[in-house]
Symmetry: C2
Subunit: 308 residues, 2 copies
Amino acid sequence: MTQQFERVALIGIGLIGSSIARAIKLHGLAGSVAISTRSAETLKRAEELKLGDVYTQSSAQAVQDADLVIVSVPVGASAAVAADIAPHLKPGAIVTDVGSTKASVVAQMAPHMPDTVHFIPGHPIAGTEYSGPDAGFADLFRGRWCILTPMPGADEGAKQTLRHFWETLGSMVEEMDPAHHDKVLAIVSHLPHIIAYNIVGTADDLETVTESEVIKYSASGFRDFTRLAASDPTMWRDICLHNKDAILEMLSRFSEDLASLQRAIRWGDGDKLFDMFTRTRAIRRSIIDAGQDVELPDFGRHVNDTKN
Amino acid sequence: MTQQFERVALIGIGLIGSSIARAIKLHGLAGSVAISTRSAETLKRAEELKLGDVYTQSSAQAVQDADLVIVSVPVGASAAVAADIAPHLKPGAIVTDVGSTKASVVAQMAPHMPDTVHFIPGHPIAGTEYSGPDAGFADLFRGRWCILTPMPGADEGAKQTLRHFWETLGSMVEEMDPAHHDKVLAIVSHLPHIIAYNIVGTADDLETVTESEVIKYSASGFRDFTRLAASDPTMWRDICLHNKDAILEMLSRFSEDLASLQRAIRWGDGDKLFDMFTRTRAIRRSIIDAGQDVELPDFGRHVNDTKN
């Protein structure tokens, strides 16, 4: 319990914002927390959940006197938020965000940021398929990476302060330039989500197989994709619109590889299929060894089954 | 603990075969269990695990005097197993299998089956990403569906007996014709696995993003696909070779839909993207309501995290 900031402002209080709020409270990191969201309903819910100390629909009001401002909104709303808060930021404040695309967020926010603040974009690589203030939990970031994409010449002290904040939440912190971040995320996050949304759509459109059959027999593989495809549609629309080039590149590579795999199936090339299906095991092993997934079969679902 | 069979023969003792063996023992369903596998090493391991009563590398020997024979081998080996066991089957025996494709298994096995036995192909819709006799567990089939694809004119009594067996293992049983089974599984299981193998391959081949980055940041979506892509390569090679037509049809639909989604991204069609990303939530909800997946965020991984 070491207070790191007098006042923190959280702009947006969905899954990520509310998890940060809970973690700040758990670790006693702020003297007070101001929460802002445009939706009156969401704001009311945040207050019921006692996520902060000050609640307002005005982001301009929330950031007043804040030493740390964390913007957690769909990336398409970044410019509007930046314009709203800019005139009210406290000199010396650290302004960061949690957006899943970084070049676009920099382009949207940086022009608005006064020279008197430290703008250090960020992206905690954590989440679940649920959204809204009820979905958050304090240890969401524990054991996960947080990528910072500081502007060239960013203040070292401010970077250290922000890094220390994420480390207190349990994260490991890495720095990257925004363009590289966007390429990395396009393959590890954006492509998987788009593919998941797509396959669920394909299954929903079949004439020969009923939806009831898809649901009943989903434990044979399909259900794994429905988790990602249950993610927040606004967030994912914005990601697709704001990381277009990197996503289109990854989609093109994916489709090229799939065409090659499809050809092997059509021509009955068993050796090629076997090779393709063998190389992938090592990556899962590495992910488990790196602590980024559980080793339990089926993600441990059977363990949960048994408890239910 | 009600014995249903004097003697059960399990041909193949991998994830599925060994789970059946454990469930038979747990529920006391057989007077004795004969286990057969071609690999001396696997057979030795099955014996160490005390999965049965009789152990042999000869499937012909295992099926002697068996009232129930369950073939649990990669589907490409079905014809060879059928030819081996056919002359040694006990009159009145039920012969079934657990293969993930059914038209091909029927085509491979039925011609060998003597008129004196009941050949009722089956497919329990259950599994994990692990394989081999150590990977099995008795409640793998609990709450999961088992599809039987009996031949026209199959004996009602034999069907009831087999149905009862699977129900004792905790499954719900459905009947289907083999061609329809193969279409259903192509979308709920085969396409998801092929897509998962493919995306893991694509990620592994990038020049701009390192494998270390893919692993570190995999919790943002990618790791979900690595589970399916860690499945047994021999099994999946055989499925691709033996359900070719249905798989190619589903792949073609998937690619068509993906091209449309890709176009929406390229042209920045936010409304279309939002619509596509919205319709998919209802399916996940239905799968959870049907008891085919857990409701816990992230498949309950965080629950497991906390325990570790």
